[in-house]
Symmetry: C2
Subunit: 347 residues, 2 copies
Amino acid sequence: MKRLNSNDIARLAGVSRSTVSRVVNGYSNVPEDTREKVMKVIKENHYYPLISGQLLTGKKTKTIGLFWFSRKEIARDPLTSSYFMHVIDAAAQRDYLVLSCILDNLTDKKNVNYIRKIFMEGRIDAGIFVGTNNNEPLIDELVGLDKIVGMFDFYHENEDVPNRLSVNFDRDSGEATIDYLYSLGHRKIAIIDGDLRRLSCIHRHESYMRGMIKHHLPMQNKWMTYGGIVQESGYEAAKRLLQGCMDDLPTAICANNDGVAFGVYQACSELGLRIPEDISVVGADGHQNGSNCTPPLTTYAFDFKQMFQSLVDRVIDTVEGKEGVPQTEFIPGYLVERASCRRIKLP
Amino acid sequence: MKRLNSNDIARLAGVSRSTVSRVVNGYSNVPEDTREKVMKVIKENHYYPLISGQLLTGKKTKTIGLFWFSRKEIARDPLTSSYFMHVIDAAAQRDYLVLSCILDNLTDKKNVNYIRKIFMEGRIDAGIFVGTNNNEPLIDELVGLDKIVGMFDFYHENEDVPNRLSVNFDRDSGEATIDYLYSLGHRKIAIIDGDLRRLSCIHRHESYMRGMIKHHLPMQNKWMTYGGIVQESGYEAAKRLLQGCMDDLPTAICANNDGVAFGVYQACSELGLRIPEDISVVGADGHQNGSNCTPPLTTYAFDFKQMFQSLVDRVIDTVEGKEGVPQTEFIPGYLVERASCRRIKLP
DNA sequence: CTGAAAGCGCTTACAG
DNA sequence: CTGAAAGCGCTTACAG
């Protein structure tokens, strides 16, 4: 049984292909009775126009690409894998589909070609990138080719490129965290930064610094280090940091994100340091596991669903030619106070 | 700057569109020097043929749909969300892309139409379904329309439909679990079944029963219940079951899967029952969290990567017209002994 | 309100 | 080895 095309439907309904197309696309210039007549034949034969034909006449694919970097995390981490769902959901609300790719880096030329091809072949109307560094030649190239690109965590001051959209974490998370610890009486605060090729990690670092300076807190080398963005690297960093200052421990540790904070938990447990009795810990992100761990983790949380919703919506607005779409949005986070920080008695 | 099409490339290279097409598709009947000449122009202009044109001439989309049911779990659960990665990886190895959809059920007519449309519009060469019930009219309809469908956890005895492929859990998991507990000396074993609309849950239930009968173990109503497939439902079930037999507790509980087993942990903790001192627990799946929890969970594990690899490979083989592709495959699991079961002294 | 015609970008027999 | 032509399935001005 061969598939019927618009010609066949037209013949069966006693109209022309033009009219079939008008009915399929819901145009208004078709009288109700012919519309019904045609619809009947369409339904009976399960007719759907092939996108291949439609695309050739300038229709959109109604598909966005989701390009996802750094695979190690995704399978294991419920937070990062929820990103997937948020993107798919937000797209579905606008009747768009999502073509998903997982890649481990953009330095491999093969990956670059792979992504370029997906754009150039006309498979997607736009692409969303998660986990790239803030500067990436491929992205610039795509933007230059007028492709519509959405970035999770990306920002260029004074940039005016309507086809590059982004969503970002607020730039106050670090300062707010320091404020909180300061208000609890902490004066000796250690900081474990993330991966400074990522915009959010830079911003958080700078924001920590602002908080430290504002409160005239001591910024000592031994209380600062880099901890990557996952538990394993956070664990290594925390162990390194703590072992390096056993004679003069900080009273609190700020971890660049919750994954790293879990690494800090691990290191503390190994070194016999109790949380929060011996040392307080604050994370960032609002990871699901933060409420299950012992003690529940105080963290500066973000609404990731909202972040992806904002990004996907503006990307689709741009695809659909809407004017004046805001290029970037900073989503404000909020402190979730749980049980990993204690109050310090000031002398 | 307008996109160049194959005509433009042909003109620039001084050949015909036919030759450009031959070069693009890597056909052999092009002499090396013309190939190079054409390739140079192609590279210089970043030319890629649009799929819309290619599809119209009968090429494949090289895309498979991934239809995923029951959204509650996916965001939170690292195991189920890893399925995504396995499918995308396995497809990428064959140079296929994945179009992902998340849906909460197939009883809603809107969802059914949504999926049907994706198939009928020619967006995908095949679709993979995860989390459907064993009988689903839409799937039968798609199979009837000669669409290629891959099912995770689906089996019909004596079925001979080359365009429906499936991958399944082995059918010995329950019996192997009972064997194991029996060998530790357990004689009073409770069973928390899953969702019996799912094939794997039926098979596991039957397999538990075989094990119980084989060892002449008492099968009591108070020691059997349904616990769904997630932690919350497992917790409810375990609480219900344990509270109903406090005067005659089983020495071990078999949970249909690890999520449910975590619910059992939760219920036991609440009821003051220690694992494994007071009661032993065995799960199934091989969930990542099973090794972190306290005590680490003994479970009957499966290699999900292998399962999806098998399914995706056979689906793509079928798309590419390969003959004699095995319709179904049962993947053997294996017991992972950790610390949630104790040895019982026999009287 | 409706149809005939043109055209989108590609590939594939076909002819040479 | 290579080009001209036909055709895939659709939509969109255009004309009436």
